[in-house]
């Protein structure tokens, strides 16, 4: 911890350099072990960073960007680990944006994904409040959350980061720092700093401790849930991407642009949209509660099979059929192998739906009386389109449009 972070020497010596060395040890330790899986060499595990909230998660990429371009020689040189840590943080920050990735987890997001509370998404970014609702230790969730919000207002509970609390800054931190600076009289050697900075270190630790504990509490809560079937696949994607990053760092090719090029952003958005669709599908197919939401939203239908006459399947629904005729759906039992098209909705209250089997019409049918769900989700993989070799004329034109590439 840096008692005076505005001093560059103290900031790097006390925070960035030790943190970087620690991070490199952890991240590079993870890439050391590889296993052969599905015929390819894959790192055994990717690194995983858990932070209290989304704002902190976003800070990771920013920190990475501030470290990755530093010099390792000459004036203001930093250890090579610090620059490498910048590369790792940049990778973590970018990967964190990939839907379904779990290399960076914000505790608030993690809880929100698995529990429903009465607080809005915006409000639930306050980790202590959301946690109090979910885990109220005896009280009612709503009361516990309200009590925490009250304490946040009065300053009894501080923010879980990364934005500091102005009142705490003014009333606690500032006097301590002033005191520290007066005492050290411009000195910045390690022993003096360590001795004089004790009070600041204690105050900051006390302020950060609740966020640390709350984050671990969130992790414990999520750990108590059963693991979803599709988690392994998504974690494998993370491991694959991490393996490539580790290799680029090893061979000195880990370069990052400050701005994505046209081709890069087109590729990235394609990949992310595919991952997002796959995540939505997997979540719904893994978790009946998620699927219930999809059904309530009118995207999927559920009911009992009353007639099977290939290729037609007739289902009696509990609600009027919300899915219009002509729409393609997939049987949740065989989401990649059996698709149907809504052919006709009949009955006085539109509760009988006739489905024409398209994909898998020779073999895959439910039996009469069976409860079925047909959803818009399938898990079939399809080849992504190939990026053009050159940026086409529509995206080029005016001179000076090309983005400069900033090497690491």
């Amino acid at each position: 911890m840096a008692p005076e972070p505005r001093n560059r020497a103290i900031r790097f010596r006390k925070v960035f350099d030790p943190f970087a060395a620690h991070l490199c040890r952890y991240v590079e330790g993870r890439s050391a072990r590889t296993i052969v899986e599905r015929g390819r060499n894959l790192v055994a595990a990717a690194p995983q960073v858990v932070v209290p909230n989304n704002a902190t998660a976003q800070f990771i990429a920013l920190l990475g960007r501030s470290l990755r371009y530093l010099r390792t020689e000459g004036e203001f040189a930093v250890p090579t680990e610090t620059v490498r840590a910048g590369a790792h943080l940049t990778w973590l920050g970018t990967r964190a944006e990939h839907p379904g990735s779990s290399v960076v987890l914000a505790a608030t997001e993690l809880l929100r994904r698995h529990w429903a509370t009465g607080i809005s998404d915006l409000e639930s970014e306050e980790l202590f409040a959301q946690l109090a609702w979910i885990d109220p230790s005896g009280a009612r969730g709503v009361d516990a959350a309200r009590a925490v919000e009250q304490q946040r207002m009065t300053g009894e509970v501080l923010s879980a980061g990364p934005t500091p609390d102005p009142a705490w800054d003014r009333d606690v931190l500032e006097p301590l720092i002033n005191q520290f600076n007066e005492a050290r009289q411009g000195a910045d050697d390690a022993r003096v700093i360590a001795r004089l900075g004790v009070g600041i270190v204690e105050a900051v630790e006390a302020a950060l401790r609740p966020a640390w504990d709350a984050t671990w509490r969130a992790v414990d809560l999520v750990d108590s849930l059963p693991v979803a079937a599709s988690v392994g696949d998504r974690w494998r994607d993370d491991r694959y991407d991490f393996g490539r990053h580790a290799q680029r760092v090893d061979t000195g090719e880990a370069r990052f642009r400050t701005r994505d090029s046209v081709k890069q952003s087109a590729w990235m958005i394609t990949q992310r949209e595919r991952a997002d669709a796959a995540l939505a599908a997997s979540e719904a197919l893994d978790d009946p509660m998620v699927m219930a939401g999809v059904i309530a939203d009118g995207q999927a239908v559920t009911g009992r099979v009353i007639d099977v006459n290939p290729p037609m399947v007739t289902v009696a629904l509990a609600e009027p059929c919300p899915v219009p005729e002509g729409v393609e759906l997939h049987w949740t039992e065989l989401p990649s192998k059996c698709s149907v098209e809504v052919r006709r909705v009949t009955g006085d209250d539109q509760r009988t739906v006739e489905l024409e089997t398209k994909k898998g019409k020779t073999k895959y049918y439910p039996s009469v009386g069976q409860r079925v769900v047909y959803s818009p989700f399938n898990l079939a993989w399809f080849k992504p389109p190939t990026l053009p070799a050159d940026v086409p004329w529509t995206h080029l034109g005016r001179a000076g449009d090309a983005q400069p590439e900033v090497p690491e």
């Binding site: 944006e97 839907p99 915006l122 701005r259 994505d260 046209v262 081709k263 952003s265 087109a266 990235m268 958005i269 394609t270 992310r272 949209e273 997002d276 939203d297 009118g298 995207q299 009027p320 059929c321 919300p322 899915v323 219009p324 393609e328 209250d349 539109q350 399809f382 080849k383 389109p385 190939t386 990026l387 053009p388 050159d390 940026v391 086409p392 004329w393 529509t394 995206h395 080029l396 034109g397 005016r398 449009d401």
Partner: protein
């Protein structure tokens, strides 16, 4: 560029713009030519005629549509427009609603369509075909270009060297379900509409604006033009006499008065008491159903000078009900069927659908359930849905009746802008918030306070 066309008669004004655009395109002097089209301005006709002209000029011509339904519609129009034309429909795994027929090939690869004059496919399909078709064509045509995303255009553009981009700038901008903050503020960002990217890269490209809506009646065009097309005003192509809704023998009920007003002024607004309600707001949906039933039961003649005979009773299939949400679609369908059955009229053919599925269609009378009706707060999404109004409010040839709860303006006024501002970001025109307010203001003059029309 487009001169002033306001003094010309609508057909001449329209033809002047389309001729000029086609000349610009075929001259080869520009990499890109853009044609902006308000609703019902003959965009499809223009795309079809231009595709045929380009095919005559260069041989096989690619057309990029945005959805399979749009691509199918284009193929049908192409076949009708030219009895000698060979049309190719390039499809992916999701296929097409069209079957092979004489002069129409439906195939998965370009090679199988090599004999065709025009090849139509969705942007998604061209994305995959582009790899083998790079530099294959001189001129390509992109339909609904404001709905196409810049990143998709990146995949597709290598196929042709010059492009005609035709679209409706008043519609919703393309979007992505993922977090796009990484690229916000990039002028060439992947989420920008394709047209914006092309105009950024080639700022001297000619932009033509179709000046006349042939669909919207004289009484309907001003509201839509003012609210959704502030930067490209347009007018109706028909006169008051050429389009009329003749209502006879109606009573003094609120519904009948609203119908009469809609017939006279082109619009009516049935306003229910303020209440926060779920999307399937029962009272609102019952009101919509009662209104549709009344439209069918009342003695209404539609006069439209291009039809033979020019006057005929209002038919069920010429009425549509538009809603913002899928759950509303199902609930309205049920309510319409129930109401019409007890009134002894046949509403089977009345079209009930969500805004995006009504796109490109037209009806005589459209009943709209306002997207912000009954909402407690307007989220950014719902303001966008407000822009979605343009889809709902521009489908009619005669009249449009809006049903909604009181207090929509208050919800809009109380809407906090919580979205960050991005430096360099495109400014969406029209602004969803403002477009909503303009519509509501104009509807005040034709407002009918309605108690719940429960059965």
């Amino acid at each position: 560029m487009t001169g002033t066309t306001a003094s010309l008669d609508p057909s001449t004004a329209s033809a002047m713009v389309t001729d000029e655009a086609r000349r610009d395109l075929l001259s080869g002097a520009h990499r890109a030519v853009v044609v902006d089209s308000p609703p019902g301005a003959g965009k499809s006709t223009f795309v079809v005629a231009t595709a045929i002209a380009v095919a005559g000029h260069q041989g096989q011509t690619p057309v990029v549509a945005q959805t399979n339904a749009q691509a199918d519609d284009l193929c049908r129009s192409l076949l009708l427009a030219d009895a000698a034309l060979e049309v190719g429909r390039l499809v992916g795994t999701s296929g097409s609603g069209l079957a092979r027929q004489p002069r129409l090939g439906v195939e998965r690869t370009l090679t199988d369509l090599s004999h065709c004059d025009v090849v139509v496919a969705t942007a998604a399909k061209w994305t995959y075909a582009a790899e083998r078709a790079t530099g294959l064509f001189g001129i390509g045509i992109v339909d609904e270009a404001y709905q196409m995303r810049s990143d998709q255009l990146l995949f597709v553009a290598p196929v042709f060297d010059h492009g005609l981009f035709v679209g409706d700038p008043g519609q919703l901008d393309p979007f992505t379900p993922i977090d796009d903050s990484r690229w916000r503020g990039y002028v060439e960002g992947p989420i920008n509409p394709a047209v914006a990217t092309v105009l950024h890269s080639h700022p001297a490209s000619p932009v033509h604006k179709l000046p006349v809506s042939w669909r919207l009646p004289m009484r309907g065009a001003p509201l839509v033009s003012e609210a959704f097309y502030p930067s490209m005003p347009f007018r109706a192509g028909t006169t008051e006499d050429q389009r009329q809704l003749r209502v006879r023998g109606t009573a003094r009920s609120v519904l009948d008065r609203a119908i009469r007003t809609a017939a006279d002024s082109g619009w009516a607004f049935l306003e229910l008491p303020p209440r926060v309600a779920p999307p399937t707001d029962r009272e609102a949906i019952e009101t919509v159903a009662a209104l549709v039933t009344r439209l069918l039961a009342a003695d209404i003649d539609v006069h439209d000078h291009v039809r033979t005979p020019a006057s005929a009773p209002l038919a069920a299939h010429r009425i549509a009900v538009g809603a913002a949400h899928r759950s509303q679609r199902a609930a309205i369908r049920l309510a319409v069927d129930r109401h019409s059955r007890s009134a002894g009229v046949d509403a089977t053919d009345v079209v009930v659908d969500t805004a995006n599925r009504l796109q490109g269609r037209e009806y005589d009378v459209v009943v709209v359930l306002h997207p912000l009706s009954g909402r407690a707060a307007a989220s950014e999404f719902h303001l966008e849905t407000g822009r979605l109004c343009v889809l709902l409010l521009s489908r009619h040839r005669q009249a449009c009746i809006v049903v909604g709860r009181a207090g929509i303006a208050d919800v809009l006024d109380a809407h906090p802008g919580a979205m960050p501002v991005w430096l360099g970001d495109r400014i969406a025109v029209p602004d969803g918030w403002e477009a909503n307010q303009v519509v509501l203001e104009r509807l005040q003059a034709v407002k009918f306070p309605s108690m719940a029309t429960a059965r």
